[in-house]
């Protein structure tokens, strides 16, 4: 959300009851994009690129940036380094490596990769699939991270979706009034 947008949203606030300092608090949230010179914390450059390519197959660029444009690759590296217990992160990466090994050059070609990811997705959500299958577990975890990373990112929350405005108390409106989903 840029400053102007934020201000126009704040125009929605009933009665103008927010103090100036609260407003500046709201606006401070709409700050600079994350640094471009990201230093990898857990993944190798190759693993990071593969994660990004797979993530972008799940959430591609459309009229808004896709997963990589929203920083989902960095989010996943960060989660592997700082959220999951080390053993869980290593297991995840070993499945990623196995995937890369199994499909060799295919993972480097966007069309082949798209088909590969589609196949993983079909398997993971097919009727009667085996929840214990490590490949399915890996893929579902990846998809979960891509979705949560994207829709909690600045791009996902403010460009792709509507960041929830402040100041409106209405709980029963026409869906047409907002058109697209709130981000949370």
């Amino acid at each position: 959300m840029n400053r102007r947008e934020a201000l126009s949203r704040i125009g929605l606030i009933a009665g103008g009851t927010l103090s100036a300092s609260t407003l500046s608090g709201l606006l401070a949230g709409c700050s600079t994009p994350p640094a471009q010179d990201y230093v990898l914390q857990f993944l190798s450059k190759e693993q990071f690129d593969l994660i990004g390519s797979m993530a972008n197959q799940i959430i591609p660029d459309t009229d808004t940036p896709g997963a990589v444009g929203a920083g989902v690759d960095r989010f996943i590296d960060n989660m592997l380094a700082n959220y999951y217990p080390a053993a869980e992160s290593h297991l995840f990466v070993s499945h990623l490596d196995a995937f890369a090994l199994a499909y060799g050059q295919d993972v480097k070609d966007p069309t082949s990769l798209r088909n590969l990811v589609q196949r993983q997705d079909d398997a993971a959500f097919s009727a009667g699939h085996d929840e214990q299958d490590p490949a399915i577990q890996f893929y579902k975890k990846l998809k979960g991270l891509v979705v949560s990373g994207y829709y909690t990112s600045e791009v996902g929350m403010t460009t792709e979706l509507n960041l929830k405005p402040y100041g409106d108390s209405r709980m029963d409106i026409s869906v047409e009034d907002v058109g697209i989903s709130w981000s949370n």
Partner: protein, 602 residues
């Protein structure tokens, strides 16, 4: 608690400007100067309040406004309106790991606190670290604690329901527990008084089991809730669904602004629309000039003088310097939370009270209650896809108790009753993780709001039982040398029978409202005592000093200048969220105590 590296100073919200909040501006500086005040050895106050949360904040306000020089002690850190609200309005992407607390950190420090639904990177600093303040679970017990100025008033879910006449008569009627020494009419004016100050939004319903209060305008229901209300009320003539009654302003009150619906009250509320001790009651106390508040002050015990039979003050361990000091006052109000208060009282041993101060009855620590929860029903509907909402409402819906109210609703399988909180929403984009599909179609489908889901969560009354108790460990002490609390409580047959009915009624109401894929859950294992965070009892009120600790004015039977006005005083749990009742009892007790002082009786 130091400042977090990731919080940039520019994000710190300033104290709101003087335009909307004139009454509060001056007093906050007084509050701050009180905080830094150094206590002199043997300094005397008119009143000491132990704990600065929901109950202590209110006690402080009342005592100060009645002219008593009041010292408030809290074991936690200083927490200030505005400047302490460092995560207010932060988006997930402005928080480390988009708001997630590392798994290993939860394991290490927040094994119990981490179970609370609102525990996250944005709120973790409000909770105690379990490993730093251990307790003994003789039976599984989730002791949810917040130690800072403001206590758990900083993160409560704001649900505010009066007890009814039948709640104060239930012990007498069915013989469980001791008869309450008060009746609804005794507390009714105090509910009026406290609600008028707190600010409670809600809808009047005229129900005998859930008296109406002094309400600000109600919040709105969603389309699905409006429909469910109509369907449930027409299918079940004994049931009502109402909008939650909640301690969040829907219109201006005493210079506080109405809610701006950010939906994250627990992050702090710069506009003071959300009631907390830090934003509302403590500033009112400070405005009198009579308040001194000292954080980092762990009260170890109450000092007792056998020659006068009075509590003369309290012993304090400074959490930062580990220095011990004693402070003195004419009266002592215990508001350190149900279990915090009881721990201090059990630890206040003397020749006259070898088992803890004011424990002549031997019931101190016993009759520990909570609400039982973990019974819920959820369902989806494909209707109302053209409806949505524009607010993050800090509130849900409520279905008041409808069992065992009268002959018609009497049950043979259990006594007392249960109620439901609930809410509805459209699934957000996170649903994509559990959904097939990739690519732009997948992404575009998540751009639209998902299907409507509605849930009901049951809360049930727990019978007062002697064996549900806390006591001091004879072997384990904490890092300050204070004996750890042993917690020992479980659910009885009455609660278990009630849960079956709670589950059945939730399911049938969801069905009557036409929901699909209804899931009814009864997770008793996952919801031990404590997790409803409505722990009550352990220093109960009663008519007889042989069987209770406090009289009808929250005054210790055995030590007349010692008052307990937090949840420890409760002689039964009823089914309503209890905080408003603690505050009403607190205000009433202060009124009585001050009269007793004026009349020279204490």
């Amino acid at each position: 608690m130091g400042t977090h590296a990731w919080i940039s100073p520019s994000r710190t919200l300033e104290y709101p400007g003087p335009i909307e909040f004139v009454p509060f501006t001056a007093l906050l500086s007084r509050l701050s100067s009180g905080l830094t005040m150094h206590l002199h050895k043997r300094e005397e106050f008119d009143a000491i309040v132990v704990g600065s949360g929901m109950s202590g904040g209110f006690a402080a306000k009342e005592l100060c406004e009645k002219g008593l020089k009041t010292l408030v002690l809290d074991r936690g850190v200083h927490f200030e309106h505005g400047s302490s609200f460092i995560t207010e309005h932060k988006r997930p992407f402005e928080l480390p790991r988009n708001g997630r607390v590392p798994v290993t950190e939860v394991e290490e420090h927040y094994k119990t606190q981490g179970k609370v639904y609102l525990f996250s990177e944005a709120t973790k600093r409000l909770f105690v670290k379990d490993d730093e303040q251990p307790y003994v679970q003789e039976k599984p017990y989730d002791w949810i604690r917040a130690n800072q100025v403001g206590g758990r008033s900083l993160m409560w879910a704001r649900q505010t329901y009066r007890w009814s006449p039948m709640d104060f008569e239930s012990n007498l009627r069915d013989g469980h527990g001791v008869d309450w020494p008060i009746r609804y009419k005794d507390i009714e004016p105090w509910y009026d008084y406290v609600e008028s100050f707190v600010g409670v939004s809600g809808q009047k319903e005229g129900l005998p089991q859930l008296p109406d209060g002094k309400f600000l305008p109600p919040m709105e229901m969603t389309a699905v809730e409006k429909h469910a209300k109509q369907a449930i009320e027409s299918a079940f003539s004994d049931r009502t669904m109402t909008i939650g009654r909640c301690a969040v302003l829907t219109s201006q009150l005493n210079g506080r602004a109405p809610c701006h619906y950010c939906g994250e009250c627990e992050r702090g509320c710069s506009t003071r629309s959300f009631f907390s001790a830090v934003s509302v009651s403590l500033p009112a106390a400070a405005a009198t000039g009579n308040l001194t508040i000292r954080p980092n002050s762990i009260v170890e015990s109450v000092i007792y003088d056998p020659s006068t039979n009075r509590a003369t003050g309290v012993r304090v361990i400074d959490a930062l310097t580990l220095e011990t000091l004693e402070v003195f006052a004419k009266i002592v109000f215990m508001c350190a939370s149900t279990l915090g208060t009881t721990q201090i009282m059990l630890n206040s041993k003397s020749a006259a009270f070898p088992d803890g101060i004011a424990n002549g009855s031997g019931v101190l620590g016993h009759y520990l209650g909570d609400h039982h929860m973990g019974v819920s029903a959820s369902g989806f509907t494909e209707d109302f896809n053209d409806r949505y909402y524009a607010a993050s409402r800090p509130n849900g819906i409520y279905i008041p108790r409808f069992r065992n109210l009268d002959a018609r609703s009497a049950r043979t399988d259990y006594v007392r009753g249960f109620a439901y909180q609930g809410s509805s929403w459209r699934l957000g984009p996170g649903r994509g993780a559990a959904q097939a599909g990739i690519g732009s179609d997948f992404k575009n489908s998540l751009r639209k709001p998902g299907p409507w889901e509605m849930q009901l969560w049951g809360y049930g009354e727990t019978l007062p039982r002697f064996e549900n108790h806390c006591r001091l460990s004879s072997t384990e002490v904490d890092q300050w040398g204070i004996p750890q609390l042993v917690l020992s409580a479980d659910w009885g047959d009455n609660e278990k029978a009630m849960r079956k009915d709670t589950a059945a009624c939730a399911g049938e109401m969801m069905e009557a409202a036409g929901f699909k894929n209804i899931q009814v859950t009864d997770d008793i294992e996952g919801n031990p005592h404590g997790l409803a965070i409505h722990e009550m009892g352990t220093a109960r009120m009663g008519r007889d000093k042989q069987t209770s600790v406090l009289n009808g004015f929250n005054q210790a039977h055995d030590v007349p200048n010692l008052f307990v006005t937090d949840g420890a005083c409760m002689a039964s749990t009823a089914v309503q969220n209890p905080s408003i009742t603690y505050m009403a009892l607190t205000a009433r007790a202060v009124d009585y105590a001050v009269t007793e002082i004026q009349n020279g009786r204490i």
